[in-house]
Structure formats: C-alpha cells, structure tokens
C-alpha cells in the first residue's frame, strides 16, 4: 500500500523541485534557530534573579557564650551553618575513626567542601570550634545532632558522636566527615569563615576574599 502512495504523480524523482526544496529546508532551519532564540528569555527567567544573587552577605557570630559540647545554628545564604565547640573527648575520638570514613583527609572535591585552612583532621581553624554548613551532601537535608556516644537507634553500637541525616541515614563524625557506605558522597561543607577576634567569627568571608 505504501509503495503506491509514495510514487509521485508525474513519475520519477524529477518531479521534485530541488531548488524549492532547498529553500524550504533553509527557511525551516532559519525558523528553528529563531525559535531557539525566542526560548532564551524564557529559559533564562528560571535562573536566580539579581535579588537572589545579591542576598548572600556574610554573617557575624559571637561565640563567647558557646560552651563545650554545644552547637549554635545561624543562617547564611538561606542555609543553616553550625558552629560546634567540641569537647576534648570528642576531639580525641576523631583520631581513631579514619578507617571507617569515606574521605578522612578531605581529599575529594576539596575546593568545594574544605577550604585550605580546614584541611586537617578536625576540619577547622581552631581545633575545638567546628564550622560547617548543616546540609547533607547527599540530597540536602539538614542532619540532626547525635553528640552522645554509644549505641542508639539507627546508629552503630560503637558510635563515637557526630551527625545523623534523617532522610537517608548518612552519618558524619564530629568533624563532619562522612562514614563509608553511606549515601552521602562528600564530607559536610566547611563554609569560608575567619575569626575577627578570639570570639567573633564571620561566616561567608575569609582572608582570600
């Protein structure tokens, strides 16, 4: 059936006006390019607005009242930033964990997750003060505090204290380093930060900037 339909009425390919067809193809291509350009403003309107880009100012925090073992959360660029003053025991526990961690030395994507001044075991400028973006590197939930060591629901029996993401069960140690075999691929992000004085911290800016 199809063979009878495709036979041109005049017979043979000569009935195709090649010059007309060339122009048809050319103008269709031009139309497609034009449609592509028309799509630009619509697709671009999805990207963050100028106002959203501007709202990223650094945040200053006073940590003089933060006691050992306590955490304070501040908002920076709409994300939670944690500041934890770790106890000596919590710091000591970090030492033996390396074999259980996916990336103990923060070598994966260091430029995104760990600034140069935090590329150490405690992932911090001052060993006891840990600053991190409280967003799981898996799918963006905010992990909860599980600072108490020892067996507890959803955690291994030899738990040394750290963070637990309720969404998909990723676990992090007290330096935000992710445990092996968990959905989160990377350690928690340490944001750019620096000390203005002993107890005054600025988040979102460091000496490079």
């Amino acid at each position: 059936m199809s063979s009878t339909l495709t036979t041109p009425p005049m017979g043979g390919d000569s009935s195709v006006d090649n010059s007309k067809r060339t122009w048809l193809i050319a103008s269709s291509c031009a139309g497609a390019v034009g449609a592509g350009f028309v799509a630009v403003p619509f697709v671009s309107s999805f990207s963050p607005s100028e106002r959203a880009k501007a709202a990223g100012a650094a945040v200053e925090v006073d940590i003089s009242t933060l006691k050992p073992g306590e955490k304070v959360t501040v908002e920076w660029r709409g994300k939670p930033v944690w500041i934890v003053r770790r106890t000596p025991e919590q710091l000591a526990a970090l030492k033996g964990l390396a074999p259980q961690l996916a990336d103990p030395d923060s070598k994966r994507n260091p430029d995104t997750y760990t600034p140069t001044y935090a590329r150490n075991e405690a992932r911090s400028i001052k060993p006891e003060v840990f600053v991190a973006v409280g967003i799981c590197t898996h799918l963006g939930c905010s992990p909860s505090d599980k600072f108490t060591a020892g067996p507890q629901p959803s955690l291994p029996d030899d738990w040394q204290g750290g963070f637990f993401c309720p969404c998909h069960g990723s676990t992090f140690d007290m330096a935000g380093r992710v445990y092996k075999n968990k959905p989160a691929p990377d350690n928690l992000e340490v944001p750019p930060h620096m000390y203005l004085s002993d107890n005054r911290l600025i988040i979102g800016e460091d000496k490079k900037a």
């Binding site: 709409g78 994300k79 939930c141 909860s144 993401c165 309720p166 998909h168 968990k182 989160a184």
Partner: protein, 466 residues
C-alpha cells in the same frame, strides 16, 4: 459536510433542536464516537472501573483546585498562613481543601489499580502499545503535578521533600548543579521555587495532562478496549459490523459506571468527612508545621504514592553498586555468549556493558540512585516489548505466572512501606532485595514470560448473562 438533513415538522422540539445543531456542528457523531456507540467487550469486570474513576478524580481536582487558588497565596511569607486561613476562616474551606488533598491520594490509588489491571490482562500488548505509553506519560505528569502541589502548603514536609527531590537533579554529572539551580531559581528552595511550582501546578502540568489524556483515549478508541480474557473481539464481527462480543457503552456501561462511581464517592466522602489526614498518610503531620529552612524534621518521608520509588532510590548505596555492576556485567556476558543476536550486536552489547560498569565505578552511588528511581518509571514504557508470553491475559498464562505477579505486588507494597520508615540496616537490605526483584521482574520478563505451558484461549469471551 454531509447533506442538510430535514426532520418531520411533527418531531418533538428536542429532536428538531438536535437536528439543527447536527447540521452545523457534529454533536451526535462526537457523542457516538466517544461513548454512545463505542463498542466495548461485554465481559468487563470490576477492574474496568478505574479509568472512569480517574476521570472523576481529575474533575474533582480541577474544580476544587480552582476554588483553592481563589484564597491561596503563592508567597513563601504567606503561603502557610493562607492555607490555614482556608482551613479556618473561609466558609467550608476545609472541606474544599480536604477534597483536594484526598483527591491527590485517591488519584494515585485509582491510577495504580488501573495500571495493575493493564498489567494482568496484557492491555499493553499489540496493538495497544501507544495507549499504554501515553498512560505511562500521564503517570509521570501526575507525579510531577503531585510533587509540585505538595510544596504549596509550605510546611516542613513540603519544604524538605522539595529540597531532596530538586537536589536529585544535582547528582547528574556536569550539568546537575546548574540544572537544580535553574529549577529552584535560588540557591536553596525559596520564594522563587514556590512561585514557579505554583505556576506549573495550576496551569502548565494540567494542560500537559489534559493533552496526554486526550491522546490516551484517542489511541484506545482506535484499537478498542482489551478485556479480561485478552481476546481480540474485533476478530469476530457480527452482521451489524460490530464485534459480537461487544456492547455499546451507552447505556450498558453508563449504568455500570454510575454504580461504580457512586460506591467510589461514598468512600471518598467518608475519607473527606472522617479521616482526611488518613493517619498521616494523606496529609503528613509534619506538614502542619511551617517550613523551617534551618531544621529538617527528625523523620522525613515522602507521600505514600512516592514511597516505592523513593525506597529504590535509597537502596542504592556503595555496597549495592557492586551488586548492580555485577548484574550489568552478567547481562553483557549473557548478550555476548548466550544470546541469539548477530555478532556485531553481541560485541556492541558487551562494549556497552563494560562502559556502563566503568561509569558505575567512576560516578557516585548518589547519581545511580537517581537513575534507578527514574528507571523504575521509564521501564514501564518498554513493557509491551518485554512480555513474550504467547497469551495476553493472566487467566490463560501458566499458573506460576500468578505467583510471580503476586510476589511483584507484595514486593511493591513492601518497598512502599520501607520508603516511609526511618532507615535501618535490615530495612536497607530488604529494600535492596525489593529493588533487584522489581528490575528483575521487568528486565528478565522476555525470558521468564515464555516459561511454562499456557492454557488454551477460547474463541469467545467468558461471559455469564445475569
């Protein structure tokens, strides 16, 4: 256009009016084509109610949705309060909102059962492949519609659910982070995200849905409906040119459907009146807390209808990746050594398997979790070409196929249950088993569907007159 028709001057006014219209607009042909003279097999059973129920729920969702937009504010600062305003201050507002939220869950109840009907009676098989594929596309659009609608109340579950799902896209290598930024319109889920999800939820996705539903029905009416026996009724035409085993939808299925719709509406109304939250399954308790970008609720879980796919996403850990890599390599080895493919295809299949395995080692488990989640839906589109059984309907398949389908249903329900629970090592293993079974069911179907002896298929449909 047909010639101008005349009716007797003594005809009733209604007949005259209809004739006047039919001479100007094909009202009668449209009605007869769509329903009045649409011949459907006479042996439909209870499974055949869910198509019409889906239509009823669609109408409920559109009507209640229009009324909700009259009071809702798509603004991060006032969205949560405007929903509470609808619930407390708008006269009968809580009923309208509960109808919409119950409708969302019931839509999935009905659509899952509708798809299961297609699965057991082989309704996806030749010549109804496109009806099935349009249906899968409807399911996908419905998931998008439900997901975006879920953000609008701006509760804790809305917020963190959207955060997780949008971040799924950032797992795609290279373009991922920019893509998720483009979807959110901000660096975190925020006002921009809420505003655009509102636009998608109330107009863009519904338009796509309506178009797909039209395509689904046009394709169905081209081939005619399948039936529980999986017999092509069109092979046996009567003297009037219609299949002898078919009856016109009107009045026969009109009455059946009105009865079914009435039962459904009783259940629907009972939920709206007495259990609109359905124990936290239809409306999650955490969503009555306003969104807090600084604190994820201790237990977050997706709405029940996303739980099976979510469970599969969660099952892909780096340990699971070794199992998946082994599966890919085994499939490649099978294609290369055991299959009946021509040689170039064998080499290509082995090459692809090696390349995929290499990519699986190179890219994070997180990305493959997303691939598994998407694959669980995409694989449905290919079902018509995966099933090699010589008969369509479960009724004439080998008995062991029935156990296979029963296990499939149990595994799917188990995945749904696990998807709503907090993660634990045992549940992780169970969901990994479930994920492997789900994919094995479909990917190995070309092989297992041919095993066993089918029963003889009768020439006429099984039907007892009442």
């Amino acid at each position: 256009m047909a010639t101008f028709k005349e009716v007797s001057p003594n005809a009733p006014a209604g007949t005259k009016l209809l004739n006047w219209i039919d001479n100007r607009f094909p009202l009668t042909p449209i009605w007869e084509g769509a329903w009045g003279k649409y011949y459907a097999p006479k042996n439909f059973n209870f499974w055949y109610i869910f198509g019409i129920l889906a239509t009823v729920v669609l109408v409920i969702q559109i009507v209640t949705g229009i009324f909700l937009t009259m009071h809702y504010k798509p603004d991060a600062a006032s969205a949560f309060a405007s929903v509470e305003y609808i619930m407390r201050d708008v006269p009968w507002g809580s009923i309208i909102r509960y109808m919409h939220s119950t409708g969302a869950s019931m839509f999935f109840v009905v659509v899952y059962l509708h798809m299961y009907r297609g699965l057991i009676y082989g309704s996806y098989r030749k010549p109804r492949e496109l009806t099935w594929m349009f249906g899968c596309a409807i399911f996908l659009a419905l998931m998008a519609e439900a997901f975006m609608g879920y953000l609008l109340p701006w509760g804790q579950m809305s917020y963190w659910g959207a955060q997780v799902i949008v971040n799924l896209f950032s797992a795609i290598p290279v373009i991922g982070p920019d893509l998720s930024l483009l979807i959110r319109g901000d660096y975190v889920v925020g006002d921009a995200t809420l505003n655009r999800f509102f636009a998608f939820h109330v107009i863009a996705v519904p338009l796509v849905l309506l178009g797909l539903i039209a395509a689904h029905l046009i394709a169905l009416h081209e081939t005619g409906s399948n039936n529980p026996d999986g017999i092509e009724v069109k092979k046996n035409l009567g003297p009037d040119g219609h299949p002898v085993d078919s009856i016109p939808s009107h009045p026969y299925y009109t009455v059946h459907d009105i009865f079914g719709v009435s039962l459904f509406l009783i259940v629907f109304a009972a939920i709206v009146f007495f259990a609109p939250e359905m124990g936290g399954y239809f409306l999650e308790y955490n969503n009555f807390i306003p969104a807090d970008p600084l604190k994820t609720p201790l237990h977050i879980s997706p709405a029940w209808y996303f739980a099976p796919t979510y469970s599969m996403l969660r099952s892909v850990t780096s340990e699971m990746m070794y199992v998946l890599i082994a599966c890919v390599l085994a499939a490649g080895a099978f294609a290369g050594f055991k299959s009946k493919l021509p040689k170039p295809f064998k080499l290509a299949a082995m090459g692809v398997a090696l390349a995929v395995a290499a990519a699986m080692m190179a890219i994070d488990a997180k990305f493959w979790g997303v691939v598994v989640m998407g694959g669980a839906i995409v694989i449905l589109f290919f079902l018509p070409w995966l099933d090699n059984c010589e008969v369509k309907s479960i009724r004439y398949r080998p008995d062991w196929h029935k156990y296979m389908y029963a296990i499939f249903v149990l595994v799917f329900i188990m995945l749904g249950y696990l998807g709503m629970q907090a993660p634990s090592p045992l549940f992780e293993r169970l969901s990994q088993f479930g994920t492997l079974f789900y994919f094995g069911f479909f990917l190995l179907m070309p092989w297992w569907s041919t095993i066993g002896k089918c029963k003889p298929v009768p020439d006429r449909v099984t039907f007892k007159a009442h």
